[in-house]
Amino acid sequence: MSATGLTIAVPRGALMGGTLDLLDGLGVDTAEVRSNDRKLLFEDAGIVTMRPSDVPTYVEHGAADIGITGKDVLLEAPEREVYELLDLGYGRCEMVVARRSGDDAMGESLRRLGRVRIATKYTRIAAEHFARTGRQVELVAVKGSVELAPLTGMVDGIVDLTATGKTLAENGLEVVEEIVTCTARLIANPVAHKLKAAEIDAVVQALRGATS
């Protein structure tokens, strides 16, 4: 059995380093996870690794008891039945609306055509943001580098996650609206939350101490 008595879904990518550091603090042996980036399942450590957007899926289905993922992922998948237990503070990013620097295509589109065209990977967050601010929007879902979309004239602006704003600036884009700040969150399966209450509470207590 792992040190925590739980199976933990760990996100690969930007959140992985910070997550493994936290798990070290819980007494989980993360050495093998750090040294082997092809393996996905680490039974001795009680860790499964996956892309961040899959973490709520595995946790909802109980394949992992708890998991760590970004708030952006949770906002994009609100129908997932998981507990959101803790704001872990790291992996801080901003969900923003950006456009070509100095170019008011968004304003002009809205005025003359009655809607803005926005490219994004986060269609739910974007749809809700524009609905809340009373603007009609035509969303274009893209998978890869969103920065390209306004440069080619396909859209008036983008909704995307940015940590430093560097990639945006390098592509001649500027932030015009900040939608929400996203950090890493601890989530739990609703049944594990009841049946493994002591184990989960111990993790929450330890992480509260570590992150505050």
């Binding site: 039945e81 959101e84 049944v191 009841k194 002591a198």
Partner: protein, 348 residues
């Protein structure tokens, strides 16, 4: 050629049907042995029957103000459903609006208030029937599901609840489960706490919505923003996290004491029946249905990550159809029980 069936519905073929039927039979025979008589009600009802399932007050507590207070918006987990109708509606030849039932509790409340209006006796009713709800289009969520359950009418307080909990546990054991547990909480507990701590009324809705969404981070953030005294703040954040054995009743004691006293009585009744080891007391348990007034239940099995069903006490519901009676009940999602039974079998 592909002839699709609607998302969230399914065909059941003989191998599965045999097992499903066996489980359903075992649940029903448990209910029958305990003196519960089976009823059928129409699959469609006039829409206003379901509107009675939601009071103004529960509407506030069970919604986040966005999608959930629209009739038919998708409900919560295992057995939870939208507080009004299923969301599936049709017109009859006179232009009246009919709705597919979203659960059996509301139709049975109507039956009790109309067919048994003169009766003062205790009533024990059970059912096994399909119910319907609109859900998001993703795998695993059913728009049509088979519910099996019991309603105990006319037995107030912990006696009634303990009978329902005990029968739910033994029926699941009879259906082949060995490791199932039941979460027991009080649906009115957190609202009581908010009132006792004099949290401004306009914040209640948001806080309860966080709890219903299981968003503990959002809950803490909003509680912090209220600027309460340290004790009150801690209680509001920590009480819904309390779950486990009877010690949570001590740890949660305070302004919500009366609701906890009810839970303590219920726990004593469950101990007396020798089933307390199956019970998880859960002070954060809320059900996403409009009609619960006291104790609420949720069923779990460690072999699966979803709830198998749930229920609770609904002392106001039958009165909304004109003949007030205390009542409580519980329902299983039969297909989920089947999945849990198969998963337990694999893990043995």
């Amino acid at each position: 050629m592909i002839h699709p069936i609607p998302a969230g519905t399914r065909d059941v073929l003989p191998d599965e049907m045999r097992e499903l039927r066996a489980i359903d039979e075992r649940l029903r025979s448990s209910f029958a042995d305990a003196g519960y008589g089976e009823v059928w009600t129409p699959m469609v009802e006039y829409e206003d029957v379901f509107a009675a399932g939601v009071s103004d007050r529960s509407r506030v507590t069970s919604t986040d103000g966005a999608t959930r207070d629209r009739p038919g918006a998708s409900g919560g987990p295992g057995g939870a459903s939208p507080p009004t109708s299923s969301g599936f509606r049709m017109f009859d030849d006179e232009g009246k609006v009919l709705a597919l039932r979203s659960d059996m509790t509301v139709p049975i409340a109507r039956v009790v208030a109309t067919r048994f209006a003169e009766s003062e006796r205790e009533l024990r009713l059970c059912y096994s029937a399909h119910a319907y709800r609109t859900v998001g289009h993703r795998t695993g969520q059913q728009r049509e599901f088979l519910q099996s359950g019991i309603e105990l009418i006319g037995v107030p307080g912990p006696d009634g609840e303990a009978e329902v909990v005990a029968l739910a546990l033994s029926a699941l054991a009879n259906a082949g489960l060995a490791r199932h547990r039941i979460g027991v909480g009080d649906g009115a507990l957190y609202r009581r706490l908010l009132e006792a701590l004099e949290v401004p009324e306009e914040s209640h809705r948001e806080l309860l919505a966080c709890l219903t969404r299981r968003d503990m981070v959002g809950l803490e953030l909003r509680v912090d923003a209220l600027g309460l005294a340290r004790d009150a703040r801690d209680l509001l954040v920590e009480l819904p996290e309390l779950r486990g054995g009877p010690d949570v009743l001590e740890r949660g004691d305070g302004p919500a004491g009366d609701a906890l006293a009810r839970l303590r009585e219920l726990y004593a009744a469950l101990e007396a029946r020798g089933i307390a080891d199956r019970v998880i007391l859960d002070l954060g348990l809320v059900r996403d249905l409009g009609y619960y007034t006291g104790a609420v239940f949720e069923l779990y099995d460690p072999a699966v990550g979803f709830t198998l069903g749930g229920g609770g006490r609904y002392d106001d519901l039958i009165g909304r159809f004109g003949a007030p009676r205390p009542a409580c009940g519980i329902a299983f999602d039969v297909q989920r029980v089947h999945v849990a039974q198969a998963a337990e079998e694999r893990q043995r």
